[in-house]
Structures are given as C-alpha cells and as structure tokens.
Symmetry: C2
Subunit: 675 residues, 2 copies
C-alpha cells in the first residue's frame, strides 16, 4: 500500500493564514515563503519529524532547521499547531518587543527553535554540524540494540541559502562525509527579494548537489503525496545526504502576488489577504484573523502520538542501557547536561619553562584534556599541523569511521564556524575549530551567531600577528583581535605563555559562550607569575614595590613587557607588569578588583599589543600610551618585523622611559586643561 500523508488542506491553509495575518498585523515580515512551503513542511512535520512537543529538549529528538529564517512564521505556525509551548497570543505579537516570535527565529527564546537563522546559508551548515554530532555520538554511545542516539536532521532552505558560499562549503563536506541522516527540502520558488532568481542565478542546483555527492530528487512542492514519497526515499537513503528540490510558488494561493517578489518581504495587504482567503477550498472566513480550526490541530495528532511514543521508548531503552553500560550512560548523561568532570585543571601536566609557541602549548593542553573530555571534538580548516589541533593517536572522523575524533573541515572557514555552532546546539559536544587568526574574517558571520546564541564553541586562531612573518600582510593579523572583541558576548583570550594557554583552555571549556583563543606561531618564553589569574581578564604578573608605571601586555607582547620592566629597572624606573588577555573579561570584573590591578593613582599605563591601538584607550586611560601597529604588516622574517615595527623589549622600554620622563609635563598639561 502506498503511504498516505496525515496532512490536510485545513492544516496547510491554517499555516498560510497565520503567516499572512501575523505579517499583516506586524506590518512587517515575509509571508511568501511560509505560503509556498506550507504544503511540503506540513508533510515533513506531520509524517516524519520525531519530536515530543511536551518535551522540546528531549535529547534524541529529530532536529529541524529553518535555514531560510525569514520564513519564521512558517516555523511559528508549525510549532504552535504541533503543540509546542508557543501560544497563539505570541503569534499575534509577531516581531514585537519581548515576544517569543521575533522577525527571525532565535534559539533559546522559543522552545522548538533549534538554531537562530536569518543570515542566509548558516542554517544549512548548522544542520550539517548537527548531523555530524549525531553520527559521532551514535558511534560512541550506541551498543547493539541500544540505539540511544538515533535521529534525523531535517531542514528547509531557500534559493538565497544556496547562493551563499557558506552553504556550498557545508554541502560539499556533508556529501564527502556521506551524512545519510541529513535531509533538506529546497524551496525552489524562483523568486528573491530583487525579483526572479534568474537575475543572478541560472545554475543547475540538482547537478551541483550531485557533484557534492548528495542524493537529489525534484518534486512539485505543492503535491503533498509526491513530497511524502520523496521524504520516504530520502530517509531510506542512508549513505548520502538528501536534497529534495521542491518546485513551489512563493505566496502560493495569493491571486495577485503569487510568484512575485512583492510577496517576499512585505505584507500582502488586507484586500489581498481577504481575496486569498476567499479563494481557499473551502473558502476561509474573512474574519477574525488568526483562526486555528480543530482540524488543523488534529492533523498533527500523528506527530504528537509518534513523538510521545518514541520518547517513551527511548526512555525505556535508556534505562536498560544504563543498567547494561552504567559508565557509558553516566558519561552520556553528563555531556548532554553540559557538565564537566571534576578536577580538569589537575589533568594538565606542567608544560615546563622552555620557550614554546602558544599554538604548541595549546596542542599539548588539548591532548591532555581530550581523554577526560570525550565531548571535546573538532579540527581545523586544513591547518591541523600549523594550528596543532590534532588529537594524538585518534582516528579521523570519516564516512567509514564515525567515532573518529579528528575533524577535517577542508579550506572552508565560514562553513566550519557554522558547523561548530550546529554541533554545540546539538548537545553532547564541545566543538573546536582552528584556522589562522586573519581568516577569522572569513567566518565572522558564523562567529557572530555563536555569540548571539551563546554557544560553547572554541575557536583556535593561531599565527595571530605580524609575527607569522614571511607569509606577509595578507596573512598577518593587525585589526583582528580588537575586531573580535567588539562582538558582544564573544570572549577573546590572547594568552602570553604556556601556563596562560592552559588557563585559557580551562576557561573556554567551562564558559557558556564562545571563546576565541589567539595563539602565536612563534616561541614565547615562560613568564614567572602567569596562570589562572587570566580568567579575570587582566591581572598582575610581576610587581616591584611602589611601581612607577604599569606595562600591560597581551599574548606575544607580554614578555616584551617583562623584558622592558627589567630594562627600566636598570634605569631606576619601576614597572608593574599586567597581563590582559581579555579586555572584555577584565571590564566585567568589579571596579574594586580592577582598581587593584590598575590603581587610579598609578597614572602611567602603557599597553603593548601587536595590533590596532583603537580601543586600548579604555584600558590605558587619560595619560596612557599604546604601543601597537596601525598599518598592515610586511613580508619578512619575524625578527626583522619586530625590529622595524618596534616590538622589542628595548623599544617598549624606550617608549615607557620617555613617557615616564614626560609624565610631570603631561600631568601639568592635563591639570591646565582641567582648569
């Protein structure tokens, strides 16, 4: 017998009318996509999606990603009708202050929203990360009949998603890895905000995805039976991710705006909504708006029954699993709760006092933590050797070995960033990803979303300054440290030696939010006095009695400060040295603490960082000086660059001495200004 969909016309029309009504009421939003995809999405939800709306956070639920986040009303309608805790009152407050129905779906705000989408292409990559996480956790934790991790990742994407390079990167990797439990419906409606997609787009999408190694089908997206068959075939295909190109009509059912860009990003207008409702079969009542017929809710009975049963089965399975594999079960429960094992700090060996690049100490710390943190999972964008992010003696995660701990993202930084977000969102994973700091530019769109969602994602960004040397200005970071500090909710840590690197890793794995570790290519000496103080953002590393001034360094410039302090001491000037690996953490500390590190009466503060000085004024204050680099670098050996650009202990000491000698005059000038 052919499978039958449990959807019906009333369900579909309810989704459409809720979208039309909410966008109209908000006088803002995108009705066309929800109307165009109501048919296909309703089939996916009614007949396939494994979720329990009563327990939205159940660990083994299917994940659903609306990559085309501008169609948020589609998701809100589905969530409401499926019985997730999202009242109709919230739908009526679409896009209003404090509602659970913002313009684009926001993870953490609305139960059932698995990721924050809107910036195009991100959701596809998030879904790839979720499917990778599922495959990996399944390989690690499933035993025989006990399939405690076993779910699909479904998504909907738009033309716009597929224009974006990030989607190409993620799709190519998904095909390479053979992620058979990943299925995307592609809303192929031939319309973008500007008009017809053929203004800028004439590629053969199915062929492109076949080239990536995907299983591709094309269907009429309004033929729900065809969608049902295609989703069935997609689920049955276990060796390749699936793309189902759904030929749809944007604004489907609107007599004057269907197939037109005018239904993309604007309300249809009251008259057009009235007309559209009147043409529905049977005709939809003209008023009130926001009608939800019982029949629409009933169409998701199958979803609810299926989800509740699956969850209950899973709980039973898990209790047997717990009895059979108590240690594994306890570990899985721990990582799903996002808790760390006790005493992690004790697992990190003494890294010694030999000069060592912080990328190298980072690699050692990672390898020390890895046996105790099975949830730590990551890799690099084709720079494993350079970024020191391989876990020793571990295998690679491949289509044949899902338990592999080392990931190879390929040279796909933006995709990597969003895949990391998907892994973190999935749960059970603390993901890390590595590249050179300069190429954080390529992944900034994804980093911003890590920060907005406050996901525990660790970015290992090495070769973090001009001191990468000969590769030259295209690869030398100058503005990146400060530019990353500007992203709200992202913690930037630029450790100055191996001990600080260890402390930074311990911070990153514990902190609920993304952390960027900025690490050196070149060796740095171990600096007496460094360590866990780093977690407060800034702290005193060395301190003579009654210091005359403060030298404030980050990362590879910290040892220039200690070196300069010694040179200054020989000239009779005493300098406190402060390490400030994280400006934003430091300013999150109470003023009392900050004043112990940078006492108001200690007037002369000199920051030293091989990057832009803009922003350091906040730290150094009115009489401060910043030693930095406000231009692009040059291609030359690192030592040559250090001399030319003044990043030597000698130059720092010279600057500090000159500022110290000038301090009485500077104070007098400021006093004169103050009147």
């Amino acid at each position: 017998m052919e499978p039958q969909t449990s959807t019906n016309e009333v369900l579909v029309n309810t989704i459409k009318t809720l979208a039309m009504d909410a966008v109209q009421k908000a006088d803002s939003g995108h009705p066309g996509m929800p109307m165009g995809m109501a048919d296909a999405a309703s089939v996916l939800w009614a007949d396939f999606l494994k979720v329990d709306p009563a327990q939205p956070a159940w660990a083994d639920r299917d994940r659903f990603v609306l990559s085309a986040g501008h169609g948020s009303m589609l998701l809100y309608g589905l969530l409401h009708l499926a019985g997730f805790p999202l009242d109709l009152a919230e739908l009526k407050r679409f896009r209003q202050w404090g509602s659970k129905t913002p313009g684009h779906p926001e993870h953490g705000l609305t139960p059932g929203v698995e990721t924050t989408t809107g910036p195009l292409g991100q959701g596809i990559a998030n879904a790839v990360g979720m499917a990778m996480a599922e495959a990996h956790l399944a390989a690690r934790y499933n035993r025989g009949e006990f399939k405690v991790v076993d779910h699909m990742t479904w998504g909907i994407c738009s033309d716009g998603d597929l224009h974006e390079g990030i989607a190409s990167e993620a799709a190519s990797l998904a095909g390479h890895l053979g992620l058979g439990k990943l299925v995307f419906l592609y809303d192929d409606n031939s319309i973008t905000i500007e008009g017809k997609t053929d203004l800028a787009w004439s590629e053969d999408v199915p062929k492109r995805f076949e080239a990536y190694g995907w299983h591709v089908q094309t269907v009429d997206g309004h033929d729900r039976h065809a969608v049902l068959l295609a989703l069935t075939a997609a689920r049955a295909e276990t060796q390749r991710p699936s793309l189902i190109a759904c030929k749809t009509h944007i604004g489907h059912g609107s007599p004057n705006k269907q197939d037109s860009a005018s239904s993309h990003g604007s309300p249809l207008g009251k008259e057009e909504i009235r007309l559209t409702k009147s043409l529905m079969v049977p005709p939809w009542p003209e008023s009130p708006d926001f009608i939800v017929p019982d029949e629409a809710v009933a169409a998701f009975d199958a979803l609810r029954a299926r989800g509740a049963l699956a969850r209950s089965h899973w709980e039973e399975t898990f209790s047997h699993y717990k009895a059979a594999y108590p240690e594994l079960a306890a570990e899985l429960e721990r990582i799903l709760r996002g808790e760390l094992p006790a005493d992690l700090a004790a697992k990190i060996p003494d890294l010694g006092d030999k000069p060592m690049a912080t990328r190298v100490s980072s690699g050692k710390v990672l390898n020390a933590l890895a046996p105790h943190l099975p949830e730590l999972w990551g890799g690099s964008a084709d720079l494993a050797g350079s970024t020191k992010t391989l876990i020793d003696k571990a295998s690679d995660f491949t289509r044949h070995d899902r338990s592999g701990r080392n990931l190879h993202f390929g040279i796909r930084e933006h995709g990597m960033g969003a895949i990391l977000n998907g892994m973190a969102l999935h749960g059970g994973i603390i993901p890390y990803g590595a590249t050179f700091l300069t190429f954080s530019d390529y992944m900034r769109g994804a980093i911003r979303l890590s920060a907005l969602m406050q996901q525990k994602v660790i970015l290992v960004l090495t070769h973090d300054s001009i001191f990468l040397g000969e590769d030259g200005p295209t690869h030398q970071s100058v503005e990146h440290a400060m530019a990353l500090r500007l992203i709200p909710g992202l913690t930037v840590m630029r450790p100055g030696d191996a001990r600080e690197t260890a402390a930074a890793w311990l911070f990153a794995v514990a902190h609920q939010g993304p952390t960027a570790l900025l690490l050196t290519r070149q060796d740095l000496p171990a600096i007496p006095g460094t360590g866990a103080g780093l977690q407060r953002g800034g702290y005193i590393v060395s301190d003579p009695p009654n210091p005359d001034l403060v030298l404030i360094g980050t990362g590879s410039e910290l040892h220039l400060c200690t070196g300069a302090a010694a040179l200054l001491a020989a000239q009779g000037v005493t300098a406190r040295v402060v390490s400030m690996p994280s400006i934003e953490r430091f300013f999150a500390e109470p003023a009392e603490y900050r004043d112990t590190v940078l006492p108001p009466k200690l007037l002369l503060r000199i920051s030293v960082e091989a990057g832009r000085t803009l922003g350091w004024e906040r730290v150094v204050g009115p009489l401060g000086v910043s030693v930095g680099l406000d231009r692009f670098g040059e291609s030359a050996p690192a030592e040559v660059l250090a001399e030319h650009f003044g990043f030597t202990a000698e130059h720092v000491a010279t600057v500090a001495k000159a500022a110290w000698d000038a301090l009485p005059a500077s104070v007098a000038a400021l006093k004169e200004r103050l009147g």
Copy 2:
C-alpha cells in the same frame, strides 16, 4: 596543422628550480605548486597571454590572476623570464623586508601582479570582476572595427581556492553571465597542507562547474601539448567561462616529495633539491642556484613579440578611434587614468529638507552622479530595492546586454566584495556594491583586500543599526561600524542626513581607497549646518557661543544630538554639536584642526552612536561619556527600540545634563588622581 607550443623543457625546469632555490634560500614558502604548475603555466604564458612586459600597465593587456597566491614563486619566475621589470636579485630576496617578492603576490608592489592573492578564493572572484569589467567596457567603447577593449582574463586556481565558498559564489555568477573570455587552469594535484585532499573533499569538480554553466575540460597538466589544445578550445568558447582541470603532481620532479604535502608549504631541503636537479633531463647543474639559461628566456620570445605587436596595433587602432570618436576616446582615456570630470558637486541637486533615509538620499546622489560618471558601475547582493542602488532607466548587465549598468550579484556578499576589487583593479571602473551593514561580516575577507590594495571600491551598507527594527538581532548592526574602522586604510563614513550623504559620495568617488558608506533604513531630518565638512571626518554642525559641552554624533544619532542640544539649552546648558562620520579621517587631520572642533578645554564630550562604545574613548577623552549599545538588539519596531535602548534626544539630554552636573566632581576626582 596542429598548434605547437613555444615552451620547452628548459623553460619549465628554470621555473621549477627558481621556485625550489628561492624557497630554500628564504627557508620559507611553497615550492610544490610552482613545480606542479610550471608546465601548464608556461604554455599559457608562452602561447596565449597577451602582455607587453615593457609596458606592464598597457590598458588592453590580458589579465593573469594567480588565485593560489601561495605559489607566488611561479608568478615571480614567469614575470622575470618574460621580461617584466623584476630582477633576478629580487627573486633571491624572496620573502625579505623591502623586496618586490613578498610571500604572497602584492599588487602595486610588483609590476605585472594584477591583484594581491593568498587568502584563498579571492583571486577567482577578482578575475570574474576583471572579466565583467572587460565585457562592460568593450560594450560601451568598442565601435565596429575599433576593438579598443578586447582582452582575456586568465587565472590559475588550486583545490584550496575551490573549497572556499567565495569561489563558488563567483563561479556561479560567472557561469550565469556567460563570461566567455574568462579561463582558469585548475591545479588538481590532490594535495593540501593537511595531506591528501580526500581528507575533506571528494566532490566532482568538473560536474560542479558544469552545473554553474562553465565549459569544462580535463587534461594531464604535465602534457604541454594537451594543455595547449585545451587552452585553444577554451579561448574559442566565447559563451561560457572555461575551467581546465589540470591533473598535476605537486612538487613535480622531486623524487621523494612529489605528490606529498611535505612539498606544499616548506622548502624541499638542499639534498632533495640536489636530487631533483640531478634527475632533470638534461641534468641541471648542482650549483650555483638561481640559474637562468638563455634558452629559458628565449622560450618567451614569442610572448614578447606577440605582446609588443599587439600593443603597437592597439595604439594604432586607438589613434584612429580617437579621430573617429573623439568624445568616446577622451572619456575612455579619462576613466582609464582614474580622473574625475570637473565640478561633480554641481551635478547633485538640492535634496531638500524633507526627512529622508540616508539610503534614499544615497540613491538620489548615485542617480545624479551616474550620467556624469559612466565609470560608476555596481549593484547589490539581492537588495537593490532596499539599498536603493539601482540606476534609474538603466538596463541590467546580463549575458545578452553587456552595456547594462545595473549589476545583480545574487545573495553572494563575499563574492561581490572580491568581484568589486577585480573591477577596480581592471581599471576604467569605479565599482560599488551594496548589502545590509550586518552582512559586511560575510565580505570582510574581501574588504580587507580592498584596503590592503587601496582600491577605489565603494560599499553601500544600509540598515546600519538596530533601527532596521523588526528583522531583529541577526540583522541589526551593533559592532560593525567600529569593526570596519579597525581595518587599516578603509574609510568608514556614516553620514547624518542627505547633505552629508552627498558629501560622502563625493568623497568616495574621489578617494583612492575603499570607502564604506553606512546608511540608514529610517528617515532622518535634514540638519542645518551639515555638508562638505564631513570630508574632514569631524566638524562643527551647530555651536552656541561659549558652549558648555560637546555632543558628537554619527549617522542617525546626529539629529539626536541637535535635538538634545535644544533640550539642554532650555535647561541653561549650551552644547556644541559635532558630526563625526569618520573617526579615522578626523584623526588624520592636523591637531590644530582637531583642536578647533574639540578644544582641549571643552572637557565634557559626549559621543552618541547606536553601536559599541569601545573605541570612542579616543574621541571623548578623559571625562567623556559614550552613549551606545554594548549588547545585541531585539526584534521590535524601531521606535520601540529607540525608547528601550535610550536613543532619543530626551535620553541623550538627560545623560548630558547629568554629566554636566557631575562635571565639577569628575574634574575634582581626576585632579585628585593626578595628585
């Protein structure tokens, strides 16, 4: 008769040995790629490339782009052997301070280097921009037999380039536009830095490029005759861009390192170089290094003769063209020189005093300038209507209409950024590209290169704050203005009304370097006193006698400052209002000027910008206050957000009044600190 290549084994071996020797001497660099592509590249240069090494800047030369910039020694070897002004002494100073042979090719430093490459994927998109520029200028200026613009764009790309999403974006657009004069050799060597490409990459590249609409061939990259035939076919294909997948061996000829990642990014080692040279046919002398046999130079005789003749023919053609079409010729000469017509400012009409969004005034200015600046050419990443970047009554640039002035980049921000760079590098074009400010994150890698190369590229970045409203935090810029200001050499302009917008455009078209125009979605009032002062970065907009304090605003917050000044006046506090659309331009002004705008004795300075406050300390000084937003936004109507986040004239006045009242105490506290 079959075509014959004018290359020979000696030429190829010279290119290889120069790369081996230079990398070894620098003890840094990438020998494998130059060795793997020496065969194919030598055919392209010897038998196809139309350049005159004696006149590297000849306007109608073919463009050659080495997208895989890490293989820079391939390009330096070719340039030297072809006779460009690049001495062997420079090759011996590879990757050293002040040399013309930096680690990655840098445009502007080395004659014949058409673009700065290294960050992967950028070069492909640059080449697409160059080919678009050529097609457009050809359509505008060629007349009958007078083909004054008629050249190819050739490039070499690597696996790494093709991993990157930016390359997908650019290649998809190139296929859509049918850029038949664009040909890329793809170095398909199956090796990346990490190892075999199949670690992370198993896609069918030829099929993927066919899906984009490219003409694709696959050849043995070491079979020079096969490469010759493929390049011949590629040039003959005029309706589609061409990709020639060259199966190559990285480190070709090295007995122990060929086909291995160890030849990718490190010197081969002296012994391996000796072995490699000894195995060449005939064997290469073991010493000295950097041998350049006459036969290698002679192999490029054809290139030099072809180039000199073509240039001479072109000059003759151009002189006839000039006689026949004096106005067209004068215009083409002007735009190729990069000069502007006189009196542009006079072309911009009075924009009136009605409230107007700066994106709208920008659109009006663009349309006012367009008839007088045929070189102004651009469009948006699918946001033409929102960013107001369409030129009225102009046609679209399509595969059928190369004269079209409106570009449609599709939802490909990163590709757009790098394509704009390619257009500017081509010459004869002032390119502009538009998207929402938040999505500047997606194109940051390309913007950085606009700045590094100091190309005249105009970015129209609208919806520049939380005031885009309901779309919510995913679309609301908070950190972007300051983060862009951090890129060295990029000018950020955030105009506060229509007059400032006009002045900002006039700055952007005249300034040799990239400019980002940050524009509002929402209407802004016209503010008396605004105008051309903007070009100094900051200037006085309104000024009572003996002001008590200074309010400093940018963009949509400037009118809050004037509003607050009025409210303060009613309370007996007088406020100067300063517009500071560009912090970096302001600080480029002499101190004397800055002190007239922000007199040292005017202690209380209050900045108002709906974004991060970090960085504003430089402007507001020791007793300053910054009104800003140090968190992500929310989805709600703009007016609601203004109230909640304190961006109203009332709130600014309240903050200013409180700071004014507290000023004596603040001054006293600072004096106390100063001792």
